[in-house]
């Protein structure tokens, strides 16, 4: 019985075990990897993707895709930067950014629940349209040199800790708590697990799904604020290709594509693992022509470990 419990614990935390293996290996193989400065770097690199992954995970847990996250991020960054550059007070500009994200999320949720569109199609529409809007607003211009206060969320420090890392920790704890301890969180899992059953048991599925997408939009928009601050600039091309990484991180972390299964803590593991892999490749200065192949092999290695462990557990049972 105790053995079973241990195995279950290992399985539930498989990403983190892979991370420990990965870190131990690289402590010996990669110079400068096992240093405080580098751990800080990895967490900084994880922060923006990590925030987007919270939103994406909420959608996946409820049984939906959200392709529009990266476009929402770009729109928010561009809107906010334009606003502060044109003299709008920073809190108001941030308000505009967050509102824009929630609006995109609301549109996604409404298209899916009220118009009956497939989530993939609905968010594909916003994925294209919202990046297009960001492009249109600035006509491809890069905005840069933003006020320091505006950049606080991306580049500021609280004591010795970068704000980005604090945000990552706080947001994951917060949303983890929301998912585990609130009625809303349980509803998200139920809707993702079996929509029909959820409806029969009296859950307002429309409301849950729309709320999930609004949260996803809100978080993506917030990630846009962090990125604009981090890079002290905003471009409509921000976050290009990020949705792919966000989905991978969530799935590597064990969140099921079919909904209802997985936890945020594991998704965070997926984010940290992907960031660490990129970090190691950069530290080694791998040939630019082979870096993608090696990255793919490392991800393959990680997920193979995971599936081996699952098989082992099944065998034990």
């Amino acid at each position: 019985m105790r053995k079973r419990e241990l195995l279950k614990f290992l399985l539930d935390n498989s990403v983190w075990i892979i991370i420990i293996v990965f870190f131990t290996l690289n402590a010996f193989l990669t110079p400068k990897f096992f240093t405080l400065l580098n751990f800080r770097n990895i967490l900084i690199h994880s922060s923006i993707l990590g925030i987007v992954v919270i939103g994406e995970s909420l959608c996946l847990l409820s049984g939906h895709f959200d392709l529009s996250v990266e476009s929402t991020l770009a729109l928010s960054a561009v809107l906010g930067s334009m606003a502060v550059k044109n003299g709008l007070a920073i809190p108001l500009a941030i308000g505009v950014m967050l509102m824009s994200g929630m609006l995109v999320g609301f549109a996604n949720g409404t298209l899916i629940r009220k118009l009956g569109l497939n989530a993939f199609v609905a968010t594909l529409i916003t994925y294209i349209g919202i990046r297009g809007t960001a492009l249109g607003i600035v006509e491809g211009k890069t905005i840069w040199n933003l006020p320091a206060a505006f950049c606080f969320f991306g580049a500021g420090n609280i004591g010795i800790l970068p704000v980005q890392i604090v945000l990552l920790a706080v947001l994951y704890l917060l949303f983890h708590a929301v998912l585990i301890y609130t009625k809303f969180g349980r509803h998200v899992y139920l809707v993702g697990d079996n929509q029909l059953a959820a409806r029969i048991s009296g859950i307002n599925v429309d409301r849950v799904v729309i709320a999930v997408f609004m949260l996803s939009g809100l978080l993506s928009a917030f990630a846009g604020l962090v990125m604009a601050g981090r890079l002290n600039s905003a471009s409509p091309l921000f976050g290009t290709g990020m949705v792919f990484e966000a989905m991978s991180a969530a799935i590597i972390g064990g969140i099921s594509l079919r909904g209802g299964i997985g936890s945020l803590f594991m998704a965070l593991g997926g984010v940290v693992l992907l960031s660490s892999i990129s970090n190691v490749l950069n530290l080694h200065a791998v040939s630019p022509y082979w870096i993608q192949t090696i990255r793919a092999l490392m991800i393959l290695f990680a997920v193979t470990l995971d599936s081996l462990k699952r098989r082992l557990v099944r065998y034990e049972e």
Binding site: K32, R230, L283
Partner: protein, 352 residues
């Protein structure tokens, strides 16, 4: 209802007559311009230069935007063919994928030109682009001088190269020129990493490389869009950013000359930038297209000649016959903070 052959013949003849009369009545030329994606400063400006020159010469232009999709660009070009434009000019998003559309264009008898990049198959009358190998070589030479200045004349040091998309010709040529110059000096170590034309990736590479190599001397970037990421990356690792001329400064230079890039050079965040005359490609190619439509092949400049025009930023330009076809390689030049404010640079021209 069956239509008689005579009726069909009449319709056919009428159609031919109509199109002839339309061609004669309407002397005005129509050009198609297919942009790969107007999302970045560079592409926006290439397009703007083309459209402005056409307007100046009284030519109508239809601009399409492929939004970074090779497939959409093919569709765009087919639409332009269907629209019956007199000539098409494109900046290929993907040199190979666009070839299908180029061949259709050849079949339709519409002359096809490109700017900035060539195509893999199909006949292109002429390509105008910046000499990217030369741009990379200039950057290499400036970096060499800066390193020699730092180490009392000795050519040594460690340089990070943030590339574009590996495999894409522009990125490859910018790398090639830079390496050609610096590889002659064995004590200069170049760390090359791909940034995929992505600012955030540039930030991560800067942070990671500076962590692994705290003694890094310089950073060479393939495009201006990396500068904000580089500056913030240096800040994130070193805690502060030493501007040009300040102690502890890391040399930063690269290629493009976009408005943001020039601003950053002027603000002494970067040492300098190799400028490409993006805004003036149109001024160079549009008159050649017009002339080609009138006189055919003989209107084209001869390979081996050098085109010169007083005061034009593309001048002098070399005419080169490459495996891909006839190309004009425009001038590129280096500006540092003293020259970055020059109002004649395309990056300093107003957008409208």
């Amino acid at each position: 209802m069956r239509k008689s052959p005579l009726f069909l013949l009449l319709v056919f003849a009428g159609g031919i007559l109509l199109s002839f009369s339309a061609a004669f009545a309407q002397e005005k030329l129509i050009f198609g311009y297919s942009a790969p994606g107007l999302g970045d400063e560079g592409q926006w400006n290439i397009q703007k230069g083309f459209v402005d020159k056409c307007k100046e010469l009284g030519i109508e232009v239809i601009v399409t935007d492929a939004q970074q999709s090779a497939e959409k660009q093919n569709n765009d070009i087919e639409t332009l063919i269907a629209r019956g434009v007199h000539a098409i000019c494109a900046v290929p998003h993907d040199s190979a994928a666009i070839s299908i559309a180029v061949q259709k264009c050849n079949e339709a008898g519409i002359p096809f030109f490109t700017i900035d990049r060539g195509v893999t198959a199909g006949k292109v009358v002429l390509t105008v682009k910046a000499d990217n190998v030369k741009a990379g070589a200039i950057a290499g030479e400036v970096m060499l001088r800066l390193l020699q200045g730092k180490y009392n004349g000795i050519a040594k040091g460690k340089v990070l190269e943030i590339r574009g998309q590996p495999g894409q010709d522009v990125a490859e040529q910018r790398a090639q020129g830079f390496h050609q110059v610096l590889e002659k000096y064995p004590d200069i170590q170049i760390i090359s990493l791909p940034g995929y034309w992505n600012t955030e990736e540039g930030f991560k590479i800067t942070v990671d490389t500076l962590t692994a190599n705290p003694d890094l001397d310089g950073i060479y970037y393939h495009a201006d869009l990396y500068i904000p990421g580089i500056v913030e990356g240096v800040k994130a690792v070193k805690g502060e950013f030493a501007k040009v001329g300040e102690p502890g400064h890391i040399f930063i230079l690269g290629i493009d000359g976009n408005p943001a890039g020039l601003d950053q050079v002027e603000a002494k965040l970067a040492d300098g930038v190799v400028v490409q005359p993006l805004r003036d490609y149109g001024a160079l190619i549009v008159p050649i297209i017009v002339d080609y439509l009138k006189r055919g092949e003989e209107a084209l400049p001869k390979p081996g000649t050098v085109l010169v025009e007083e005061g034009a930023s593309w001048s002098p330009a070399m005419v080169v016959q490459t495996a891909a076809g006839l190309e004009i390689w425009t001038n590129v030049f280096y500006v540092d903070y003293l020259g970055a404010g020059d109002p004649n640079l395309w990056g300093n021209k107003p957008r409208e």
